[in-house]
Amino acid sequence: MVRTKSARIHDTPFVNEVRLDAPQWIVALGILAMVMLLTPVLWKKLERFEPGPDYRIPYALSKDYWFYERCLEQTTAANVVVLGDSVVWGEYVRQDGTLSHFLNEESGQPGRFVNAAVNGLFPLAFEGLARCYGGPLRHRKVIVHCNVLWMSSPKADLRTDKEQRFNHAELVRQFLPRIPCYKADLNQRLAAVIERRFTFSEWAKHLQMAYFSQKTIPNWTLEDDGGNPPRYPNAYKNPLAQITFTIPPEPAVDPERGPGSPRHKPWSTTGAGTTRFEWVELDQSLQWAAFQRLVKLLQSRGNDVLVVVGPFNENILAEENRRGFRRLRDGVGDWLANNHVAYVVPGTLPSALYADASHPLTAGYQLLADRLYHDAAFQKWLARRGPRPPGDL
């Protein structure tokens, strides 16, 4: 047999001393396991977080799912949790101008209706949010908002082939069913699937969201002010000093929201005319399919679900476009009825109470809450004995 002449093969040389043997690895892994398991738990005790009756997840923490789950843990069986996207969250209004605030007013019980909406959500992500982080919602009464805007065009339905970048991409299903416009590479998809299973990793993201402008600590130290030449205001700051153990509250005066903000005005005063939407067929809609799965998931978790469909701003629709909308809305209602899901379809609000196609203004929310609260189906659902956790007799 011919043998290759060989140089002497040495053991892998090390040029540092980070060479752990088996017992050392066991100790290191033990320490890491303890740190990683205990830190998020202890953090909840250390970090101050006091939700008031109208509390909503701060806009800057919209992608802080660990914190979202923590907020849900604060709810009690007596609460009615209102889930949804920016319509429920209140894109144009302050936290005392949201649907849940006015429902609380109607009920005379501050804090009974909890705003658990997330800005930028859509049914495909909504389903993921509930599946991965909605555990504490089990056996609660929940109101789920169905925003038909997400079915107003193939693009909104995320069905187009052209790549789209959207919020909460980590929450959508990464592999099946396929979302044609979602072009993340395999690593991003796997990271989304795997990392959300690690509480420590979610907690680390929470730190970034809450204290480091949604950046990693190194990137935060290099955050620039956008000037030319750029300045890095955080370069010499001590990153640890940023961690104040207090969740920053929503600003008392938000120039972007509330009656005092320039955005808070009826859609018709912005110069926008009526619109024609390319309503998608319900049986082909990815968003609607995700919404259906969401409702089923909540039901399977023992939630008592009420779906509020709309109210979509019909005033913004061109006359010939309204038929398509109504067909879609009725289709939603039919499915809910067929599946024995309580639902309410509030009538369209006056045109002046909408900021755009789907978001009401403060007075709009007030009117909507009033209509909802006095709706017979809503009252019947509300009066219905809530779900009970297993074993609770």
Binding site: K5, S6, V15, N16, Q24, L32, I194, A204, T216, P218
Partner: protein
């Protein structure tokens, strides 16, 4: 599939257990080959054609070389050409096959599809040489074919566009109406013209085998799968270390010994590599990128610090990759050679090159510097050989004038400081720290040319380093702190306090710190710098 991504983690989680499960069969080697080809094909399946072609050709060339007499022989050309009378049947078959193939290729080169003609012309020249090699029974011709083939691939994919653009620029300046076609027009079947990742590494590795066989340093490898695995062994395929046949090939002869230490060492190496890449290199890259993307917007301190930061970035990036490669190989039970040995602790430029990218430095030493004469022909020839070696090393890194200048500067630096470093004064009187600082300063200066986007940019940076105003560099304290920590660790390593670092609690503490830092602070992925070479 980068080492620090989830797809690689899954790939390894499949490859590793199956590899070990197959240890009692003969299938472990094919499994390793398949895994390596899968890993490479993941980037671009077309790359596989190239690496397979290179592997087959070098395997065959060495086999044919093996059939040629060592000392050469007198050949009766007439008998060979007229009666096909060869002493060796393999060479006869090679001659007939090459002649026939050459005829076919020439036909295709003249009358074949237009898109195929350039490739066929090149191949027919190569096959013609093969026919000559068989006809003359010449080991030297077979070696020449291997050299031409490997270097031609490298030149075409890496340098052709650079050469064409520069020549066309010269033609335009001379007001000549001629211009050379873009290399992409020479690709067969309209394949995309792009630089295959790792081509500089696997061609050098494959080439080292043929040269070593020619020189009698290794025996012929008769198992094709073993040789194919040697050329494309996935941990080191993309960016080295460039292995030698006599070191790696014997390790594929039998299943490596299964030891717990393989796993603990492999995990240790991988963790260090991961930390270097994700925690250090990526962070430094952010600062460097901002400054180097717009050097005119920054003052001298920022430019100096960004250059220093780049020096560390490229070290952490490349040595991080190497550590991970060595770690993965170790998990499989194989040993890869050391590629970096704390180069910024070098107290001379010569020493720096014996600590930086060791596998490439030794490759150039063995296959370029020594064949050129090494230090055997007196001082002037030694300097010439040194200079040529560093000049070529610069070009190896990339098709750009900045790399040429980088290599030239190092060549000049080594030539100028060689005598100084050998003097008693330098060795005995200059404090080590000063020597290290001097080497670090020079190396950092040369990095300007390595990193700058273009030659004009590099010149702007050099100019501004000396002339621009002194403004706040705004380099993060955290970055400085991390660098200081690493530097301090390296100093301890080569001092009498090294035993402190060897203590179990320190090792465990460092490992825990690294994992926690990675979990909390590491950002994103990003490819490795040396993949572009």
């Amino acid at each position: 599939m980068l080492f620090h991504t989830w797809p690689f983690a899954i790939f390894l989680l499949i490859v590793l257990p199956v590899f070990h499960a197959l240890r009692k069969t003969r299938l472990w080697l094919p499994w390793l080959t398949v895994a390596s080809y899968f890993f490479y094909g993941w980037w671009n399946p077309y790359y596989l054609i190239l690496v397979f072609y290179s592997t087959v050709l070098d395997f065959c060339l060495v086999a044919l070389m093996d059939h040629c007499p060592l000392q050469g022989q007198k050949v009766d050309m007439r008998a060979r050409l007229t009666g096909l009378r060869f002493h060796d049947r393999v060479l006869k078959a090679a001659f007939v096959g090459a002649a026939a193939a050459d005829l076919g290729m020439l036909c295709l080169a003249v009358a074949g599809p237009k898109t195929l003609r350039p490739a066929m012309t090149a191949l027919s020249s190569l096959v013609f040489l093969m026919a000559l090699g068989a006809l003359f029974s010449s080991r030297r011709i077979w070696l020449l074919i291997s050299l031409i083939n490997n270097l031609a691939l490298l030149l075409f994919f890496k340098y052709a566009r650079f050469v064409v653009e520069n020549l066309n620029g010269v033609f335009a300046r001379l007001h000549l109406s001629m211009s050379l076609p873009d290399p992409s027009t020479l690709m067969p079947f309209g394949f995309e013209y792009l630089l295959p990742v790792g081509i500089s590494f696997f061609t050098f590795q494959s080439l080292s085998y043929t040269i070593d066989f020619y020189l009698g340093n290794v025996d012929r490898e008769r198992n094709f799968l073993r040789f194919a695995t040697f050329v494309c062994f996935f941990p080191q395929l993309m960016a080295g270390p460039i292995e030698r046949a006599r070191h790696l090939l014997p390790q594929f002869h039998k299943f490596p010994e299964v030891r717990l230490q393989n796993f603990t060492d492999g995990a240790s190496l991988f963790l260090v590599g991961l930390f270097k890449k994700l925690a250090l290199a990526n962070y430094l890259a952010n600062y460097v990128e901002r400054v180097y993307d717009d050097p005119k917007a920054f003052g001298a301190p920022a430019l100096i610090l960004a250059t220093v930061a780049f020096g560390w970035q490229i070290l952490f990036d490349f040595s991080g990759y190497t550590d991970m490669a060595r770690g993965v190989a170790r998990l499989l039970g194989f040993n890869l050679i050391l590629n970096f040995n704390n180069p910024y602790l070098a107290s001379g430029l010569g020493e720096f090159w014996s600590r930086w990218h060791i596998s490439l430095s030794s490759w150039f030493r063995d296959y370029l510097y020594i064949p050129l004469g090494g230090n055997r022909g007196g001082t002037p020839n030694t300097y010439r050989n040194l200079f040529i070696t560093f000049f070529v090393s610069g070009i190896w890194h990339g098709a750009s004038w900045t790399f040429v200048i980088w290599g030239t500067l190092h060549g000049l630096g080594v030539v100028i400081t060689r005598e100084l470093e050998r003097s008693a004064f330098y060795r005995e009187w200059v404090p080590k720290l000063l020597k290290q600082a001097g080497v670090f300063a020079f190396v950092s200066f040369t990095w300007i040319f390595f990193r700058a986007r273009s030659l004009p940019d590099a010149l702007v940076i050099v100019n501004r380093v000396f002339r621009a105003e002194w403004r706040d560099p705004q380099i993060p304290t955290l970055m400085i702190g991390l660098l200081a920590l690493v530097w301090f660790y390296q100093f301890l390593l080569e001092s009498r306090f090294r035993t402190l670092l060897q203590a179990g609690p320190v090792r465990v503490g460092v490992a825990v710190f690294m994992v926690l830092y990675l979990s909390l602070c590491a950002s994103g992925g990003g490819a490795f710098i040396y993949f572009q070479f």
